[in-house]
Symmetry: C2
Subunit: 489 residues, 2 copies
């Protein structure tokens, strides 16, 4: 047997790394901070992409593709945006290599670009430059575009899935005739993200807006969804930005409105990334490995035969084949692992590690008794069930597991969300972890001081939270509502 996983309670960080590695999700590449997403990990990401893409299209968006390269001059056009991204840019300066005369290659000094190109850290500038040609009249609005692509931000401290130099994401970029429409779009897409993370990833999130200090560089307002990981740290799962007219003005995009006047359109942008893979892993997994919600599992059911001879295997397979066909017909993805190179015990451990929601075990005694062993990954429980009707049972069970994983994460969050009213209480609780709901005086100064003293940041000002007057947990000044604090990834 392989070595047991590190325990969450003992070394959370190592536990996370080992799950990523042993469930075969991803690995670090030879290039600093860049990851390789392995087939099993990528299959989960593909399921996420498909679900999100369907949701984007159902809300009227179309996909397009814009260049990888951002001319340096584009980045300079929106000042805050430039400041926010300049420090972590991969810069292309040359377009050719040549032989170095020593059997190797060197950059050809004669192939220097006139203007350096940045690998996109986000695409507002490139896209708004294109929109200049796309938007002339109110008839061209709203323009609702999404792009799936790779992104590079030269982060200094990287962590697989959570913060990598290159990552995959989608970025929506929309243009609207009125401020109100753009704000509605920003909120609509935040809602789509919350819907996806809660109903597909089975992870409850808090929806809110960022403080000015935590806003996207170039945004007027940044909305976000925040999840709570099992170590009590927060993870930002997605953001949706109301960009006002910042980019339409920087790129001089105007449209003729119905009154025949020139106006600058109002913009939004919104994105989620492969970071969600990190949230999925840290939100649900246990000391036995990955736990996947059925809706995102590359295969939802694995069937493992338990046999001693090829003849036994043939008998089991004969019983299993129609079950597989029935499951597939019902839209359930299933893998039959009759590979003879591995023992069934090894397989049980392997599929547990990989988070397969349901495992069916079938041996000769089961055949005689007309039963099958059904093991649930989420509860680690097993029971013997009649083979007759097993497909209906599985269909119901998959829904139950999806719901149970969500309920468990929700119960964890509820047990780890703390209203705190004193500074001593705040400092004590932040060391223990969890979400803290506390009053804040609304100033950047206080936000900064709290961050410096405790490493806690304001994750968001929750939407629809109850107005409740109180006093700032740090400064004692007046406050109208509680905000959400946590240490975060």
């Amino acid at each position: 047997m392989a070595k047991a996983l590190p325990k969450r309670s003992e070394n959370y960080s190592e536990w996370y790394n080992e799950i990523v590695k042993r469930a075969d999700l991803a690995e670090n590449s030879a290039v600093r901070g860049c990851m390789v997403i392995k087939p099993y990990g990528f299959a989960i990401w593909e399921k996420m992409q498909r679900a999100l893409d369907d949701m984007f299209k159902a809300t009227g968006h179309q996909n397009a593709y814009f260049p990888l390269f951002v001319p340096k001059s584009f980045l300079e056009k929106e000042e805050e945006h430039a400041e926010g991204f300049a420090k972590e840019c991969a810069v292309v300066t040359h377009y050719r290599l040549k032989t170095d005369g020593k059997g190797g290659l060197m950059v050809d000094p004669n192939a220097k670009l006139d203007e350096e190109l940045i690998i996109r850290p986000t695409s507002e500038t490139v896209i708004w430059n294109a929109y200049k040609g796309w938007i002339q009249s109110w008839r061209d609005l709203p323009l609702l575009i999404n792009q799936w692509c790779n992104i590079v931000r030269w982060e200094m401290r990287t962590r697989i899935f959570l913060r990598t130099a290159e990552f995959l994401w989608q970025e929506g970029h929309t243009a609207h005739a009125t401020e109100q429409e753009a704000v509605e779009e920003t909120e609509r897409m935040l809602g789509v993200y919350a819907d996806f993370v809660e109903n597909w990833m089975a992870l409850p999130v808090i929806q809110g807006v960022k403080t000015p200090g935590e806003r996207f560089a170039g945004a007027v307002e940044t909305y976000c969804i925040e999840g709570l990981m099992q170590d009590g740290k927060a993870l930002q799962c997605g953001t949706s930005h109301f960009l006002g007219q910042n980019f339409s003005k920087s790129f001089d995009v105007q449209f003729v409105n119905k009154e025949n006047q020139l106006e600058y359109p109002w913009a939004t942008s919104w994105g989620v990334s492969t970071r969600l893979m990190g949230a999925l892993i840290m939100g649900h997994s246990d000391d036995n490995g990955l736990v996947l919600p059925p809706k995102l599992a590359p295969f939802q059911v694995v069937i493992v035969p338990i046999h001693k001879s090829p003849e036994d295997l043939a008998k089991i397979s004969e019983k299993v084949d129609p079950i597989i066909n029935e499951l597939k017909a019902a839209g359930v993805s299933v893998k039959y692992d009759d590979n003879d190179n591995q023992r069934s015990g090894w397989k049980f451990a392997e599929y547990e590690l990989r988070g397969v929601p349901i495992r069916l075990g079938l041996g000769m005694r089961d055949l005689e008794a007309g039963t099958v062993e059904v093991a649930r990954r989420d509860t680690l429980s097993k029971e013997s069930r009649p083979i007759d009707g097993i497909v209906d049972h599985i269909k119901i069970l998959l829904g139950e597991i999806q719901q149970n994983i969500y309920n468990k994460a929700m119960a964890f969050r509820e047990a780890n969300t703390f209203p705190v009213d004193t500074w001593d209480g705040f400092k004590e609780q932040i060391e223990k972890g969890g979400f803290i709901l506390a009053h804040w005086d609304g100033t950047a100064e206080t936000e900064e001081k709290i961050k410096n003293e405790t490493k806690a940041t304001i994750r968001c000002i929750p939407l629809n939270s109850i107005e409740e007057s109180g006093t700032c947990v740090y400064s004692g000044k007046e406050s109208a509502k509680r905000v959400l604090f946590a240490r975060a990834y």
Copy 2:
């Protein structure tokens, strides 16, 4: 009315550019040689991706994702590969910008990378470096991986879709225990490509192998599919490479075989790109615009109401609604264009330009008569049909159109494929265009001379062509079979 398209026969190149622009497929971006793929063009590419991805998965492949960056030292490891790609590489040399003190940004000289990173021009090196950790035993083989991603090759002369500095593609990278298995895989994927291009894109292709001079840099054998465009030039639509043990040796990847001996695995790689969009446009379109095979059309049917008042429109819509529902239920994608900002005549021209396979027109007289006007994009023919049974008619018609577009392209190719036996005949025919089947003596010298004198290249040595002895069209030396010549994109 908008200006008519340039005619194919008068200015093929301008005709192509105008279709790309006016059918709203793509446009050049501000970055030299990089394109923006617009929503309508991208919707076609998405359909291509989905079909190909399903075919790859049906042949046992899994998707994964590898880094964008290739360390310079990786490229150096396989000599021919390095030579082939060094001259067109975008090179990242720095990882940070800083303010230049004049309100702009500059490259931060303190953020120079120790080793330059190349934006992937193809991923053999990055992937085989990863495979070193993935392949230990014969049990790990075959390893069948595919990646969808962006690629950068700094081409000097670019042409939208056909040759761009950045393009989108998929690249398959497989590893096998034996040479024979790898060759079989190379040929299997060539077959998948031919199947896709013929049965989805409706474009007949010649399957063959490249001469040594036209091989992929680092391959032992390059297979390809070649299509004939309407101007008589060839377009390479996809390649599948047998890489031998070149990359496993360069990256020192070995596996323990069943006899417990260390061996180098055998490799393949294969790819198709957004270049296929160029083939699709140039293969079928006419002087009225784009012609799309139904299987790849973003919407297969457009319904245009012809009305003078809102009341008329309401009556038409009432009749159309159940047809739309029936079409959707039958898996037919349909758009109902009841937008009142444009006249029906403008819409007719627009959907013709965009290549929508079937257009239904419905006016008040049709309502009374219980008919609908059915217009086919491929033949430009129209007929009045009873509304009753229209959905069944459309389902059959879509299949007919798909087949007819293929037949037309096949007839064109047959009419433009010429066996040529004399050098004068060769020079004469190559000016007229088309595929030339001619004898070649098998030497690189002759291939080079023919290319220099006529700009014709050997597109491929066709698979399964009849052995037929003859004499080389250029040198007069002996030859065992004809090869395929053409001028090419």
